[in-house]
Structure formats: structure tokens, C-alpha cells
């Protein structure tokens, strides 16, 4: 579904990612692991179009590199970004409306908003309050719901567990598991190796802007060796 080839990503003059290849099939959950500064977020930014990049990113065979950020969203790429970036000055309801802004079927969208609200009652109780009043975990749920309301073909999740309490992290991964059951295609960026490997089918490990290893999730066992590698632990 999504094919990335010899992708280089730049921040100003600095090359953050040095030509990587990633492939994601339909309905797959692919996980991108790596330490801080490895280029994980940069990779996602090149898919959404917010970072300058060269190489090719193909969605269903069509190169999307020349498309604007907005057009890529319309083609079915949605992101729950790093730091969540919910519109804290808007109400929870309005955040959801923004998520579905590109949708034409507004009555269906309204129904889906209601469904999500019944799924996460806390969002419903405070639907008319500014989203900035939500807790970190609730904001993360809202960011994921916002991305999903655009009816994406592929969902990018950038460190959804960042800064969340373990219990809430578990809840977030529960949502990811549910999405997988519904055959959503997911590219997950994480530092929480154990939790990420539990939901993923395929793993790419990114180090200093290059892929150091990749393979089916089984190849990495329980992930503890991988964890040591990422944390720089030598036994």
C-alpha cells in the first residue's frame, strides 16, 4: 500500500534520514523503532509532506512526493502527530469536526462522532469544553480519533504513548489493537519497544537516519535484545 524508496529527509541543510526503504502492505501494522534523533518523526513528516525530502513515497503505486500536505490527506494519509497537537483552543467537538473536514458525507460524519463519543465517554461529557482541558491520555485519544475521522487508508501514529502513565499507555495500545482488527493499515513510531512489538506485524529499526535491521516481528523474539540495542546497553 505504501512504498518508500531511497528516502532522504532534510531539516534545513542537515540530512536527517539517509536513504531508507520501507514497505507497508494493506492491513499491516508496521512499527518503526529507534532511539531519540534516529529520524523516525522525520520519516513520518516526509510521508505527510511537512518535511523536505527526496526519493519516492508511493501510495498504491502513485508517487505522492510532489503533492501538497492537504492533497496527501485527501488521498488517505492521516497522522496523530508527535506531541498530539490537538487544537487546545477549540472544543472537543470542533477538534473532531476538523478531523472530518475533508469528508463530504457530513451526516455520516456526525454519526461517527457520536459513535466515538460513546466509545470514549469522557470526550462526550466535555464535548463543548476546550480540548486543552483534557488530560494527556485523553488528548492522545482525541488526536487518534481526529485522524481516524478523515477515513484514512493509512494511519500514522507518532509516539502515542509518549508521556502517558502505564495504564493509559495500555489503553492506547488497546485502541491500536482494535484498529488492527478492523484491518486499518498502521505505521507506528514508538520508543516503547515491548508494547509496540506486541501489536506490530513487521519491525524496522532506525539508527542515525539509516535502517539497521528489519524483519517480521517474530525475528526479534521478545524484543529485549532490541531494547538493549536501542538503549545502548552492552552485555
Amino acid at each position: 500500500m505504501l512504498q518508500i524508496e531511497s528516502l532522504k529527509v532534510f531539516h534545513g541543510l542537515i540530512e536527517a534520514v539517509h536513504g531508507i526503504d520501507i514497505k507497508i502492505s494493506k492491513g499491516q501494522c508496521v512499527c518503526l523503532l529507534g532511539p531519540n534523533g534516529a529520524g523516525k518523526t522525520s520519516t513520518l513528516s516526509s510521508i505527510t509532506g511537512t518535511a523536505r525530502a527526496t526519493g519516492s513515497v508511493r501510495l498504491d503505486g502513485n508517487d505522492i512526493m510532489a503533492l501538497s500536505i492537504e492533497e496527501r490527506c485527501k488521498r488517505g494519509i492521516a497522522i496523530s502527530p508527535e506531541g498530539r497537537r490537538i487544537f487546545s483552543n477549540l472544543s472537543i467537538q470542533d477538534n473532531m469536526i476538523m478531523g472530518g473536514a475533508i469528508r463530504r458525507d457530513k451526516t455520516r460524519l456526525a454519526q461517527e462522532i457520536e459513535e466515538w463519543i460513546s466509545h470514549f465517554p469522557v470526550l462526550g461529557e466535555r464535548r463543548n469544553q476546550p480540548a486543552g482541558t483534557l488530560s494527556g491520555g485523553e488528548q492522545q485519544m482525541l488526536a487518534i480519533v481526529r485522524a481516524l475521522l478523515s477515513k484514512p487508508r493509512i494511519l500514522l501514529l507518532d509516539e502515542p504513548s509518549l508521556g502517558l502513565a502505564p495504564q493509559i499507555t495500555a489503553r492506547v495500545f488497546e485502541i491500536i489493537r482494535d484498529l488492527k482488527k478492523q484491518e486499518m493499515t498502521i505505521l507506528l513510531v514508538e520508543q516503547n519497544v515491548a508494547a509496540a512489538m506486541e501489536v506490530s506485524d513487521y519491525v524496522y529499526v532506525l539508527n542515525n537516519g539509516a535502517i539497521s535491521s528489519h524483519g517480521d516481528v517474530g525475528k526479534f523474539g521478545d524484543g529485549s535484545d532490541l531494547m538493549d540495542e536501542l538503549m545502548g546497553v552492552h552485555r
Partner: protein
């Protein structure tokens, strides 16, 4: 008593005019961080197009009003497309200098194609009649101005709250890139903001024309400068702040004129700006400045 009511109305109508123009500045600033000093020339453009239409087509004031509104929306969106889109994302100063450049070019066009002297355009003067309600005599223009401003603000707020584009405009004030990531075209949001500021400028233009009955190349500069001050008092980038600042400034001006003894009349402006300075000492970011991001919430 009637004197008080007259002065209150006076203050409200001044405030309304400032608020209209300040809102136009604030709506553009909140979304793209541009202090649009060419806003005054948008108002002047409305005045000149009124003369052109009145000479060539019709002097019907109602048609003229619609033409003024349309002309202001048109020029505001054209300026966005031609001048401001190219410096989008550039430094704040670049935008500011561009705005001044556009303003100077337009003023000189008015000088060359129009006249350095005020040109008469009296079709809207009829709005300004003296009404006698019981014992009080008030200007009808002041009532129209206050009411029209309140109605315009209500329509604007409804638009910003109820429509997808309106919600996107509020969201863009916080995180423009995220709005684009939601698939909403940046150009549409910004052009929408400029169109709206043009509409507000057009409304202000109608009332300014009703009061002055003439246009001149520099007619927009003073009102915009005052509106800028109103924005600063209210908190730059905050729309309610712009309205509050506008009315506050109008009330201050009238109050100072009324309360200051005749012989100190020349000090009116100084007293008003001293009050402004005091407000800014109390609240350096303006009264309703948008809340600062206090880092990531965990």
C-alpha cells in the same frame, strides 16, 4: 440625562468603528501573523470605487453600499494573492514591510489616478440625520453604526463557530500546519481571512464615507493606526480582544473629551494614550491576550 445618553451613543459609535477595523486586523494577524497596515488602503479603495461606480453606473446609495463591500473584499483578496501569499511563512518583519510597501503603492495610485485633494462622494450622507427621540436628539448614523457593528460581530462569531471553514480559521490561529494535515487547504483559510477583513473594511468604509462625504488618498491611515492601538490593548491576535479594545478606546476618547475642561482640550489624545500605557503596564500582552502555550501536557 439626554446629554449623557448622547455621549454614550457617541462613545459606542466611535468604538464600533474602531472595533470593525481592529477586527479586520486581528483576523488576519491571528492566522498568519501579519500586521496588515495596508488595511487602511482597502478602506480608501472602497471609497474610490464608490466614486467610480457613482460616476459611471448609478448613484443609488443601496447599490453603492453593496459595491463598496464587494470592492473591499475584492481588493483584500487580490492583495493577499499578489503580495502577501509570496511572503507567507517569512519573518514577521518581512510581512510588516510588505504591508507598508503595499500601502504606499496604493496611496500613490490613489494620488495619480484620483486626486491629492479630497474628492466628494456624498451618497451616504443621508444616513446621518438628527433624530429626536423624546427629549434627546441623536445622530441616526451613530445608531446605525453601533447596530451594524454588533450585527457584523454576531454574524462573524456565528461563522467562526458553526462552519467548517470558520472552525479551521480558529484552529489555524493555533497550529496552521496541523490544519493542513487535516486536509484543509491553507490558501482557502488565508483567503477566507482576507475576504472577511475586506468585508469588515467595507462596512467601516460605508460609515466613514457617511461621516466625511469625501475620499482622500490617506483617509485610511489614521483609523487603522487607532485600530492597531485597539488591537494592542485588547491583546493582538485575539478577536474578542479587538472588539473590546475598539470599544474601550472609543469610550476613553469620548470620556476624556467630555470630562477634560475645555482649556485642556488639546491634551485629549495625550490623556487617552496615557491610559493606554497604563493598561499595557497592567497587562503587557493586552487584556485578552491568547493564552500562552505552557509546554506539553503530560
Amino acid at each position: 440625562m439626554d446629554y449623557v445618553i448622547q455621549q454614550v451613543l457617541n462613545a459606542l459609535s466611535f468604538g464600533a468603528e474602531y472595533a470593525l477595523i481592529a477586527l479586520g486586523l486581528a483576523i488576519v494577524f491571528s492566522i498568519m501573523g501579519l500586521v496588515n497596515f495596508a488595511h487602511g488602503e482597502v478602506i480608501a479603495f472602497g471609497g474610490y470605487s464608490m466614486i467610480v461606480v457613482a460616476t459611471l453606473l448609478t448613484g443609488n446609495p443601496w447599490v453603492l453600499m453593496i459595491m463598496v463591500l464587494a470592492a473591499c473584499v475584492l481588493i483584500a483578496t487580490v492583495l493577499e494573492r499578489v503580495a502577501f501569499r509570496t511572503v507567507r511563512g517569512a519573518d514577521l518583519t518581512t510581512g510588516l514591510l510588505t504591508a507598508f510597501g503595499v500601502s504606499i503603492i496604493l496611496q500613490n495610485l490613489f494620488l495619480l489616478l484620483g486626486s491629492p485633494r479630497p474628492m466628494a462622494a456624498t451618497q451616504f450622507i443621508f444616513l446621518d440625520k438628527t433624530l429626536t427621540i423624546g427629549a434627546i436628539r441623536v445622530s441616526s448614523l451613530q445608531i446605525y453604526e453601533t447596530v451594524a457593528t454588533v450585527v457584523a460581530i454576531i454574524i462573524l462569531l456565528t461563522f467562526l463557530r458553526r462552519t467548517t471553514l470558520g472552525i479551521a480559521m480558529r484552529a489555524a490561529a493555533l497550529d496552521f500546519e496541523m490544519v493542513r494535515l487535516c486536509g484543509i487547504r491553507a490558501n482557502r483559510v488565508i483567503a477566507g481571512a482576507f475576504a472577511m477583513s475586506g468585508l469588515l473594511a467595507g462596512l467601516a468604509c460605508i460609515f466613514i464615507m457617511a461621516r466625511r462625504g469625501s475620499v482622500s488618498p490617506h483617509m485610511g491611515f489614521d483609523p487603522v493606526l487607532t485600530a492597531f492601538v485597539a488591537c494592542v490593548i485588547g491583546g493582538f491576535g485575539s478577536l474578542p480582544g479587538a472588539v473590546l479594545g475598539g470599544f474601550l478606546l472609543g469610550i476613553c476618547e469620548v470620556a476624556v473629551q467630555v470630562l477634560l475642561p475645555q482649556s485642556y482640550g488639546g491634551l485629549a489624545q495625550a490623556v487617552v494614550f496615557a491610559l493606554v500605557a497604563l493598561i499595557l503596564i497592567w497587562r503587557p500582552d493586552g487584556i485578552l491576550s491568547p493564552a500562552q502555550e505552557k509546554g506539553d501536557k503530560i
